[in-house]
């Protein structure tokens, strides 16, 4: 009955963990730091090449809250370079003039007619957008209902992302009396078309520029219409991560789009992403007891109106809450909290911080890992030589850090060397267990060093004992004077320690001492390995095998002699063609055997054999039949 219980609990725990992981909001990973902002400004503050470039620069800088350097010159440039026959040019000029202060322009009737004519179902969405934008920025009257119907009709034909974004922008210029809900619904459709990259970034496959333009247009329209854009908090943060991940801008239009997105994310009516970063490393100590936080919007403007609160601070190891529900105090542009007031033990702490003050804040809860450092002190350092037989009482010397023990200690076959010490937190007096507590023995003559770990016992007293018979392999049985160092280190210690405590004379038994102490150099050439080639088989001398070859032909000689003696002859040889063919074929087959031995493979031989054999067989058949006939007669 024990088996199902724990498994069920495990499954419940895992599902709860997954739920929590999903419930936890994503933290922004990218923002526009002040350096990024400067780069963006520099990208936008280029001398104007044409009206479009002027539009990007002027309106982009305005989104960042920056005024153009010389507004009068900009105004003159725009007025002189505008092309009154082009709707696009008029749009760029109109938008720029609207932003620049003290820039006036009069519009001729022809220009107005041109713009009004462009607002129809036959123009592309870009044309409608530019016409509507120009008319609105010039302050000319505009028939919103007609524009809306033209837009809706075009939208059903042009399905691409950029056209839809431009439709959103156009709708933000139309009167609120028109029913813009159809266009507002496009925001949701566009959000569905975004690509999720690793759960961190959300962007269109067309690129960052399109994504940034979408964000700017969505918020512009939502502010105009008065409804919250249909984007979830996580999606907004992912969009932010994608847009602000681009730090270098190749084109002016890219810089413009990022500037517009930054402006809209810091100034709209619905969502205000909050960036919470520690000012410097997230570490406090006795010397630096204050934790400083920068709480800003996406353009690194400090949100001094916000109220920042520590929800809880838990120790990372013990999960005990040391502080909760404490507000941060504003000091200049930075929020501060003196964490050392609660006298935390050294180590890592999980901070949960929330920022409130405005309903629009999103990503306003963060988890931060804060390190509390301290200084370590070594106390009760006792060096002693312990007799192995326990017959003599151990001799103990106390040393105080950072002094070195006077005299030297001996460890040999009948006495061990022992070291014990305690580590305490200098500020609080509590016992510390750092990560690194090493005892290093360094041979002064040969340069050998051996490092051991000192382990704490149940009372947190560190002990180290050197037994020469147990440890002779580490030392290679090299006797001599060794300097003893104590090394204490940890991530949360501000004062790591390397302390030369004493000199220890170690004597190993003589029979184990190596004749020369070689330093273990790993990087010398190793002895060469000689490859043993396969030995050829033993063969008899050539004389023997040649003799045998001659010998093997002797039975053949015997055969010929016997045949002659018996009286075998070929007197019955008939010169019939079949006989000749048979004998020739047979001889050829024997010759083929020889050729097979020297040159051919089985397949070729079978081929030739089939031909020769066939011929020989036919001839032989005829010949033998004739012989049989002759015999029976």
């Amino acid at each position: 009955m024990a088996a199902p219980g724990p498994r069920l609990r495990l499954a419940a725990a895992i599902s709860l963990l997954l739920l929590l992981a999903g419930a936890q909001a994503l933290a922004p990973s990218h923002r526009l730091t002040s350096r990024d902002l400067a780069r963006l400004r520099a990208a936008l503050e280029r001398p104007f090449a044409d009206v479009q470039a002027a539009y990007y620069s002027i309106v982009g800088l305005d989104s960042l809250g920056v005024r153009v350097a010389d507004e009068k010159a900009a105004c003159n440039f725009v007025k002189s370079h505008v092309d009154s026959s082009s709707v696009d040019s008029l749009f760029y000029a109109a938008q720029s003039i609207r932003v620049l202060s003290g820039c006036e322009v009069t519009i001729s009737n022809e220009t107005r007619e041109l713009l009004l004519a462009a607002v129809s179902e036959d123009s592309s969405i870009t044309q409608i957008f530019h016409a509507v934008g120009a008319l609105s920025s010039f302050g000319l009257p505009l028939a919103s209902q007609e524009a809306l119907s033209a837009l809706t009709a075009r939208l059903s034909k042009e399905e691409n992302v950029l056209a839809t974004i431009q439709a959103l922008e156009t709708a933000s210029y139309l009167s609120q009396q028109a029913d813009l809900s159809g266009i507002v619904e496009e925001i949701e459709d566009l959000v569905a078309r975004l690509d999720d990259l690793g759960g961190v970034y959300l962007q269109f496959e067309e690129g960052i520029e399109t994504t940034a333009l979408f964000v700017a247009a969505a918020y512009k329209l939502s502010d105009h219409v008065g409804t919250e854009p249909a984007m979830k908090e996580d999606q907004i943060i992912q969009l932010m991560n994608a847009i602000f991940s681009k730090k270098n801008f190749e084109t002016l239009s890219e810089a413009f789009s990022v500037a517009c997105a930054a402006g809209s994310l810091s100034r709209n009516h619905y969502h205000l992403p909050v960036i919470i970063v520690p000012d410097g490393p997230a570490a406090v100590s006795h010397h630096q007891p204050v934790l400083r936080l920068q709480v800003t919007d996406v353009m690194s403007q400090p949100l001094t109106q916000a109220s920042v609160k520590l929800d809880y601070a838990k120790s990372a190891s013990s999960k005990a809450t040391v502080l909760q529900q404490t507000p941060f105090t504003l000091s200049g542009d930075v929020f501060e909290l003196n964490f050392m007031n609660v006298k935390p033990a050294s180590g890592y702490y999980d901070f949960s911080i929330s920022v409130d003050g405005d309903k629009r804040f999103i990503a306003n809860k963060v988890e931060l890992k804060v390190k509390v450092s301290t200084e370590v002190g070594i106390t009760n350092v006792d060096l002693s030589t312990v007799d192995k037989d326990q017959s003599i009482a151990p001799k103990t010397t106390r040393v105080a850090y950072p002094a070195k023990a006077k005299g030297s200690f001996t460890a040999d076959s009948h006495q061990n060397f022992a070291l014990s010490f305690q580590l305490i937190d200098v500020n609080s007096g509590a016992e510390l267990i750092p990560h690194q507590t090493f005892v290093r023995l360094h041979n002064q003559k040969t340069g050998q060093e051996v490092v051991f770990v000192a382990e704490p016992d149940s009372k947190n007293v560190y002990k180290f004992e050197l037994d020469t018979s147990e440890r002779k392999t580490e030392f290679d049985s090299a006797s001599g004077t060794y300097t003893l160092y104590l090394i204490i280190g940890d991530a949360t210690l501000e004062n790591p320690i390397l302390w030369n405590v004493a000199d220890v004379v170690i004597k190993f038994p003589e029979e184990d001492a190596p004749s020369t102490v070689q330093s273990k150099n790993l990087f010398v050439p190793k002895p060469e390995i000689q490859h043993l080639f396969r030995e050829p088989e033993k063969r008899p001398p050539t004389v023997v095998s040649n003799t045998f070859t001659a010998l093997i032909l002797s039975p053949l000689l015997l055969l010929l002699i016997l045949w002659i003696k018996i009286g075998a002859n070929i007197s019955n040889f008939s010169f019939a063609p079949s006989t000749i063919v048979f004998h020739l074929g047979h001889a050829a087959m024997l010759g083929l055997m020889y050729v097979y031995w020297t040159q051919l493979n089985m397949f070729q031989t079978l081929k030739y054999l089939a031909i020769l054999g066939g011929v020989t067989f036919l001839a032989g058949n005829r010949m033998l039949a004739q012989k049989a006939v002759k015999r029976t007669h």
């Binding site: 088989e537 033993k538 063969r539 008899p540 023997v544 095998s545 045998f548 010998l551 093997i552 039975p555 053949l556 015997l558 055969l559 016997l562 045949w563 018996i566 009286g567 075998a568 047979h586 087959m589 055997m593 097979y596 031995w597 089985m602 031989t605 054999l609 054999g613 067989f617 032989g620 058949n621 033998l624 039949a625 012989k627 049989a628 015999r631």
Partner: protein, 123 residues
């Protein structure tokens, strides 16, 4: 003693007389065709024995060559014996359908296949 010696001499004499009688019978009673074939068989036997003796003397490397040579000798001997049995007029009753010419053709054909394999194996 003399009886044993006599019987020993007699035994030796009997072995010798058996051999002599055999040779006389063989020389007169065997057709010359069969004698020719017997000479061939003796030749093959000697060749095989010599090969085997050489292998015992100097070792079996290369083993495949020895095997192919030895099997050639053994196989040829067997086929020769088969031919002799089939040609022997005294066995005519047992080989009604097989004329000497047919036996000879079979002998040639089997030898061809044997030596094809032998040459393949000799290396």
């Amino acid at each position: 003693m003399s009886g044993a010696a006599g019987s020993g001499a007699g035994a030796a004499g009997s072995v010798g007389s058996v051999v002599r009688r055999f040779l006389v019978e063989y020389g007169s009673g065997t057709p010359s065709r069969l004698k020719v074939l017997d000479a061939y068989l003796l030749y093959v036997l000697l060749t095989g024995a010599l090969q085997f003796g050489y292998c015992l003397g100097v070792g079996t490397f290369p083993f495949n060559s020895f095997l192919s040579g030895f099997i050639s000798a053994v196989g040829s001997f067997i086929l020769g014996v088969c031919l002799r049995i089939q040609i022997n007029p005294q066995n005519k009753g047992e080989f009604q359908g097989i004329s000497p010419e047919r036996a000879f053709a079979d002998f040639l054909f089997a030898n061809t296949i044997l030596h094809l394999v032998v040459i393949n194996f000799v290396g």
